[in-house]
Symmetry: C2
Subunit: 275 residues, 2 copies
Amino acid sequence: MLAGQNNTIATNQHEASLNQARELRQLARNGSFNGSTSGFASGLAQGNIVILPKAWADDFLVFCQRNPVACPLLAVSAPGEPLLETLGEDIDIRTDIPEYHVFRHGKLTEKTNDIRDLWWDDMVTFVLGCSFSFEDALMRAGISLRNIDCQSNVSMYRTNIPVESSEHFGGTMVVSMRPFKPADAIRAVQITTRYPKSHGAPVHLGHPSMIGIDDISAPDFGDAVPIHDDEIPVFWACGVTPQVAIANAKPPIAITHAPGKMLVTDIASEQLSVL
Amino acid sequence: MLAGQNNTIATNQHEASLNQARELRQLARNGSFNGSTSGFASGLAQGNIVILPKAWADDFLVFCQRNPVACPLLAVSAPGEPLLETLGEDIDIRTDIPEYHVFRHGKLTEKTNDIRDLWWDDMVTFVLGCSFSFEDALMRAGISLRNIDCQSNVSMYRTNIPVESSEHFGGTMVVSMRPFKPADAIRAVQITTRYPKSHGAPVHLGHPSMIGIDDISAPDFGDAVPIHDDEIPVFWACGVTPQVAIANAKPPIAITHAPGKMLVTDIASEQLSVL
């Protein structure tokens, strides 16, 4: 194969992913897609969403600054601005997520696919990097991912790992888990270290009980996946962590994505990588 | 503290390590030191040694090329040349190792601290990087090492991991093991990745039985160390691997260092690091 052809294929793949990202956001917008976004739009960054009134947003920004592994910021909107121009073409955060969770005074009260009727003019949107963004890099390294193979949502767990509190937000870390053979786990540490905006390297591996996970077969969010005898569970900080912090802070309203159902951006993950 | 003072301290530390390396080689040379070199001459690279007649050396070089993780080459001498000028001041490979193992037709027949009477004019020396070189980087990152804390030799094990054979040399990999808490194990993967000439990243973690280690409390070389309940064993390729290959190849004579008793060079490990 000629080098030029190779470049053409890479360009075509990027174009295909951009098209898929835009199509997926359109489908979410018109209510035709409400599933997990894992495995979609290969090579493009995905984001966790937190939407708060301005009165709570400033303190949440401090919380993110103090917890950059769980809450790596990709974008913060101006108050009331629903379009996220820095992250992609025609992204309207009020409609383009497959499913939203609405929290009132810290309690999950509604699940919806459209928050236009909940929007008001000082809502601030936070977009936090997501581990789905590095799954692609793992697969390109020949490492298979159980959640992708099982076509299920990644397994997520509450832990006993404390986060750094801000004035109102605090609590413990939520993690995502992927099982790997030991050699692949080592490779996964190396690869994900390159993606600090996608939670970076794992925070734990091997002993779930040490981080407060008593039953690995019963995730708190997402789906359970089988872990084989020759595998070890590897845990990354997860962007669902703010949902625990919101439950503790009890703002009058907070809107998030549903776990595993992310904002798919137009930004290449490699654009956010280091080294 | 002034920046200038800091630089002075770093320079002084390097000078102190150089002095310690040279003193340690002198003590080995006059028969006054025959212990493990782990923890000595902080910041300087240590090396595994293989000495073979020229007729076997060419094939061993192929073996090293095919197994760069177990056998990262730091130097190959000219036939008959006992001085290793590229690795340090006044290094005589015939006297400067704390203890040598002599293999005849693949069998360990003698242990000695001086091989001048075994030397002849076509002996070729191979120096292979050693995991002791990165122990220092781990300690600088605040990670404690059980073998250093216990003042014992690192634990080494035969495994079932096959190596790539050359014409005569082949067999299975020997690994060194260090136990860590999971977060430190992750950090250790990151740090040791920077040192490919010291075996680089681990080859395994977590499940000793998967790599053919049935009893972790009974290492094949070096000393046993305790592994606590909240720790996982992490395994690196080890420069003792050639000693297994020599047992299989059965050259008329081969001389190595005794496991854990290395050549301490004048080369800074950081000079051999990547990224």
